[in-house]
Structures are given as structure tokens and as C-alpha cells.
């Protein structure tokens, strides 16, 4: 077990999977000599050549669409979007093509395609380079959605994504790349999709959070402990499929639910979690659940303004107090 960064974990798994299976290759903007903006493919071209670590033009529709075509023709491409915000540049290829190909073709197609990239706030990239857009990919059927919060999850989930015979949208968070953690050395280490993890056990309130907000929820839990509130923190890890059972079980125990994400609050994935919990465990709830997410406002450049748009640790703490009536 080595301690490596989230970015290194991703790089490690891409390399291991490319060694294992010659059908796997990476294409995207600046993935070769630069190794991606965050170093997730640094120096990999030296081992695998520029045929398999493939620089593309700045043509997102071609990157994703060619990934789809190559997957249909027997390859297992990893198509990198430099920022997930750019998914809107190639929205047709993702939502009308990748999402629907297998289904409309009557199950004819197998599409082992990973579309991966990073998103989120924290680096002053402003409105078109700082969004958190994963909820949209849960809304349109046809792709799996993974959101790793730790280096180990980045490694384990990415391996599952690459080996999956379905299209997977893989959401990394730019502020997590430098975070470090233990990652198993085992080149077979993987984490199945649809299995949430309880990051911290607690008995009074359930907090569900993903990506950067897992660590913020844990910070909030530390604060709450000082006030005598024991918070359980759940990281769903994948949104499609979603492990509602783990959340349901926790809510049956705590009777209180707060969902928090950096994605915009309105119609964010947290709303779906609250709907499901309402359906499954309504009578166990002692308070109306609270859903926190970014305000309905583009992400501004100025750091203080940016932080004003997204939920703070204090917002999470306050929400937990509110559902606890104390």
C-alpha cells in the first residue's frame, strides 16, 4: 500500500489497464507531452507511444464521438475532456449518441467507453471551467456516473470504469488531485459501482456528499461532534447506479438527512436522493431533509464570490442542527 495523490492514482490505473489490455487507449487534449493539465497521463506516452496516448485537436465532439465509434469497433477508449464544462460543447455526442446507441439499436452494441475529466471550483477558473455537472448525466439515461473522492476510490472506480462494457462518465474534482492517500498496489484492485461507503459512522444525522464535499462533510461532522451531534457521512461514489439502500439504512437509524454537493442545488442529484428516501423511509424521518448545493448562479472568478455560491462547512453544520432541532 503506497501513499500517492489522487492524480497519481488515476495515472497508475490508466497505465496498468493499458499494459493489461492493448484495446485500451487514451485520447484528449494535451494528454501527451503535457500529460494532461493535472498530470494524470504524465510521461505515459514514453511507455505506450503516441498511438495510444493520443493528442487530439481541440474538438470535443470528435473526441467523444470518435471514442464512441472506436468502442463500437472493438476498442476500449478513454476519452478525456479537459474540463467537464466542455461536455456542453459535445452534448449531442454524449446525450444523443453515447447514451442511446445501445438501447435504440436493440442491444446490438457494446460500448466500453470511459469519458473522464475534472470539474469543480477551487482554482479560480471562473464560470465555464468551474461547474459541477454530474447531476445532468444522472438525468439522461444510458451512462454510468462515477465520482471518486479519495485516491483509493479514484483508482478502484477507474479500473471498474475501464473494464465495464458500458459507457461511463468519470468525474474527477480538480481540487482533489493533490490530495494524498493510501492506494493498494494490487493492479487488480477495483471498487464495484453502486456501493456507497460510510466515511464516518454516526447515529444522529446522515450526511450524503460526493467528491470535494466528502471532506467538507467530514469537517462538519467534527464540528457537530463538539456540539454532541453524531453525524454519519455517506459517499455514494457512483450516481449511476446509486446505492440507495445504504442511505436508507442510515436514515432508518438517524431519522435525519442532509444531502450536500457542489453541483447546483436546483434539480441536483441530492433531490433524487431525498425523493427516494421519502419513498423508502418516510416514516423514519424526524425532520424534513435538507438539500444543499451551489446557488442558481454561474460560478464567479473572485475567490470570496465563488465560495459564496457553493455550500460552506458552516452551511452543512447549520443544516444538521436544523434537522436535529438543536
Amino acid at each position: 500500500m503506497a501513499v500517492i495523490s489522487y492524480a497519481q492514482a488515476i495515472r497508475k490505473v490508466i497505465a496498468e489497464e493499458m499494459r493489461r489490455d492493448e484495446r485500451v487507449f487514451l485520447m484528449g487534449e494535451d494528454v501527451e507531452k503535457l500529460g494532461g493539465v493535472f498530470g494524470t497521463s504524465r510521461d505515459l506516452f514514453k511507455e505506450f507511444g503516441t498511438d495510444r496516448i493520443r493528442n487530439t485537436p481541440i474538438s470535443e465532439s470528435a473526441i467523444v464521438g470518435a471514442g464512441l465509434g472506436a468502442a463500437c469497433a472493438g476498442m476500449r477508449p478513454i476519452a478525456e475532456l479537459m474540463y467537464w464544462d466542455f461536455a456542453f460543447v459535445c452534448a449531442d455526442q454524449i446525450f444523443n449518441q453515447v447514451c442511446k446507441t445501445r438501447y435504440v439499436f436493440g442491444g446490438n452494441a457494446i460500448i466500453p467507453l470511459v469519458i473522464r475529466g475534472q470539474q469543480g471550483t477551487g482554482r479560480g477558473n471562473a464560470a465555464t471551467h468551474s461547474q459541477s455537472v454530474e447531476s445532468i448525466f444522472m438525468h439522461i439515461p444510458g451512462v454510468k456516473v462515477a465520482c471518486p473522492a479519495t485516491p483509493a476510490d479514484a483508482a478502484g472506480l477507474l479500473r471498474t470504469a475501464i473494464r465495464d462494457d458500458n459507457p461511463v462518465c468519470f468525474f474527477e474534482h480538480k481540487a482533489l488531485y493533490i490530495t494524498k492517500g493510501e492506494v493498494p498496489d494490487d493492479p487488480e484492485f477495483s471498487i464495484p459501482f453502486g456501493e456507497a461507503v460510510i466515511r464516518r459512522e454516526g447515529s444522529d444525522v446522515t450526511i450524503v456528499a460526493n467528491l470535494l464535499y466528502v471532506s467538507r462533510a467530514l469537517e462538519a461532522a467534527d464540528e457537530l461532534a463538539k456540539d454532541g451531534i453524531s453525524a454519519e457521512v455517506i459517499d455514494p461514489r457512483t450516481l449511476v447506479p446509486f446505492d440507495y439502500e445504504t442511505v436508507e439504512e442510515s436514515v432508518r437509524k438517524t431519522g435525519r438527512l442532509v444531502v450536500v454537493h457542489e453541483a447546483h442545488q436546483v434539480n441536483g442529484w441530492g433531490a433524487q436522493v431525498i425523493t427516494e428516501v421519502g419513498k423508502r423511509a418516510f416514516r423514519y424521518l424526524d425532520a424534513a431533509p435538507i438539500h444543499l448545493g451551489a446557488k442558481s448562479c454561474p460560478l464567479p472568478f473572485n475567490l470570496a464570490l465563488e465560495q459564496a455560491v457553493i455550500p460552506s462547512v458552516k452551511d452543512i453544520v447549520d443544516a444538521c442542527h436544523a434537522v436535529s432541532y438543536r
Binding site: 474538438s59 465509434g69 472506436a70 468502442a71 463500437c72 435504440v104 439499436f105 436493440g106 446490438n108 458500458n166
Partner: protein, 321 residues
């Protein structure tokens, strides 16, 4: 060059497409087909001449006007018609209808109802062929309208930079829905755009089987040599409206009549075969009879096929292994 065997295949394929499209038209007017149905009648020479040079290992991507490509790439008329009627026995279990038919076993990576949607996909299939060192090509069919989409630019640029074995075949049928090409497109010949990508571009008479055949043969050879893509523009004309309910107020009926009477690709090919003394009239007549019978059986099959079971509506969103 087109030999006797190929000539017969091309002729039969064109007849199959014609019969299929005219049958679809009739069924639509009888309210037996619903949804968006875009007929390929009049453009048969393009699909047939090109697909006669492909194997099941070669790929195509197609368009909303895709029945012709689908049939030329080996689709059976009965399964295809059943799909148009939304039946369980259709190529896509009744989920696709007219606009999304695919048959991966035949190398047909699918029709595509988004104008220009297939261009990146074809490019990726060709990338796979190149990386797998396969001696095969991908043909990307699209219309004049798609040549104004961003995917046209992104895809052809990428294929040129990577020298992919893909042939972009633009079927210019003069209208993007109701808008004439002269009103929507900056160049007279869409193949002129090839210059912008550093690849060969060629405009041919899309109703002339031999012209399409020869242009494609050159493009395929170039692709297999590893020299990269070609853009072929086939000038043609659709006999029917954009879709089956099109009132066709934007074009002159006399012009359409002239195309039907003087430039029918099937009649022209028959004349050509006669001039070349390649296939006898009797053999061609036999094809006509056989295709009509095949179509009759296809209608019978499609009409008597069961509706899909709604209990399976959620199947195949994901591959479950």
C-alpha cells in the same frame, strides 16, 4: 470496374431499396407506419455502388434517410420493415423505427437521426480499424445539410491529421429539409471543402452508378494505402419530400418530374448495362420479379409480426454481461 456479378448485385440492391421505399410510402399513406420516415427513392445508386465494394468487416454510418444504406449494407427487407413498423422482430426490437436502424453483424454502425451525428462515430470506427491494423475502411454517409455542422469540420480534420481509413460520402440532394443548398452552403461543390483539410475531394453524378463506383474505388484504395480520407460528393435528388408528410411547397414539381423521368438511377443503370452488354434484360427482369416477391413476403412478415412486450421496455439500457 464493374463486372457481371457486381452489376447484378448493384442492380438487385437498387431495386430492393426502391421497392422498400415505395412500399414504406404506401404503408405510410395507409396509416400502417407512423413517426418520421425519410425516403431514399432516387438516390439508390450511391448506396448500392459504394456498398458493393464493402465487406461485413467494413463499417458504415448512415443518416435519418438511411434505409438505402442499411439495405445496401446487407439488411434483410423483412427485419428492416418490421423495424419501421415498430415490431418485436425488427432489427432493433421496435425501439428504433425508421431513423436508428443498425446491424453490427453486417458492419452497419447505425443510422443517425441527428444531422451530422454520425461523422465523429465513423471517424472513431476508422481509428479503431487503423489501430487494429485491419485492412478495412469505414464509409460515412451524410447529406448536404450535415456539411454545415461542426462535426463535419471536426471529424474530417481529425481523420486527415491521423490519416484514417474513412471515406466521407456526401449525398447532395439539393435540399436540407426545405432549404436549397444555394441558400445554406458557401460553396457550389461541397467537395471543394476537402481542400481545407488537405485531402482529395471529388464531385460526381450521384445517379450514375459507374461514376460513383469509380470515385469510391479510388478513395478506398487511398484509404487502404494509409493515405487517409477522401471527401466524395454525390449530386443527386430525392424523389419524395423530406419526410412522408412533406407538402413540398419549396420546390418545383416539374423539376422533380424531370429527375424521375430522365435521371432515374435504376433506368440509367439498365441502359448502361445494356450498352456494355454486361447483363441480359432477361436476367434483370428476373431480379425485378424476385425483389417484388421478397418485398411481398417482407410486408407479410412485418404485418404479422408481434408488437414488442412492454415488460421489456427497460432492457438494454445497459449491457448486463
Amino acid at each position: 470496374m464493374i463486372d457481371e456479378k457486381k452489376a447484378l448485385w448493384i442492380y438487385k440492391t437498387m431495386k430492393e431499396i426502391r421497392e422498400f421505399e415505395e412500399t414504406a410510402w404506401t404503408l405510410f399513406t395507409e396509416n400502417k407506419l407512423r413517426g418520421s420516415v425519410h425516403l431514399y427513392t432516387g438516390q439508390e445508386a450511391v448506396a448500392a455502388a459504394i456498398c458493393s465494394q464493402l465487406t461485413d468487416e467494413d463499417y458504415i454510418t448512415s443518416t435519418h434517410r438511411g434505409h438505402g444504406h442499411c439495405i445496401a449494407k446487407g439488411a434483410r427487407l423483412d427485419f428492416a420493415l418490421a423495424e419501421l413498423m415498430g415490431k418485436a422482430t425488427g432489427y432493433c426490437k421496435g425501439r428504433s423505427g425508421s431513423m436508428h436502424i443498425a446491424d453490427f453483424n453486417k458492419g452497419n454502425l447505425g443510422a443517425n437521426a441527428i444531422v451530422g451525428g454520425g461523422l465523429p462515430i465513423a471517424t472513431g470506427a476508422a481509428l479503431a480499424q487503423k489501430m487494429q491494423k485491419k485492412n478495412h475502411v469505414t464509409v460515412c454517409f451524410f447529406g448536404d445539410g450535415a456539411s454545415n455542422q461542426g462535426t463535419f469540420h471536426e471529424s474530417i480534420n481529425l481523420a486527415s491529421v491521423w490519416k484514417l481509413p474513412v471515406i466521407y460520402v456526401c449525398e447532395n440532394n439539393e435540399f436540407g429539409m426545405t432549404v436549397p443548398v444555394s441558400q445554406s452552403t458557401s460553396v457550389r461543390n461541397i467537395s471543394d471543402r476537402a481542400k481545407g483539410y488537405g485531402i482529395p475531394g471529388e464531385t460526381v453524378d450521384g445517379n450514375d452508378v459507374e461514376a460513383v463506383f469509380d470515385a469510391f474505388a479510388r478513395a478506398k484504395e487511398r484509404a487502404l494505402r494509409g493515405d487517409g480520407p477522401t471527401l466524395i460528393e454525390c449530386k443527386t435528388y430525392r424523389w419524395r419530400g423530406h419526410w412522408t408528410g412533406d407538402p413540398e411547397t419549396y420546390r418545383d414539381r416539374e423539376v422533380t418530374e424531370e429527375w424521375r423521368e430522365k435521371r432515374d438511377p435504376i433506368s440509367l443503370f439498365r441502359t448502361c448495362l445494356k450498352a456494355r452488354n454486361l447483363v441480359s434484360d432477361a436476367a434483370l427482369d428476373a431480379v425485378d420479379t424476385a425483389v417484388a416477391e421478397e418485398m411481398r413476403k417482407a410486408v407479410e412478415f412485418a404485418e404479422s409480426s408481434p408488437e414488442p412486450d412492454a415488460a421489456h421496455v427497460m432492457d438494454d439500457v445497459f449491457y448486463e454481461g
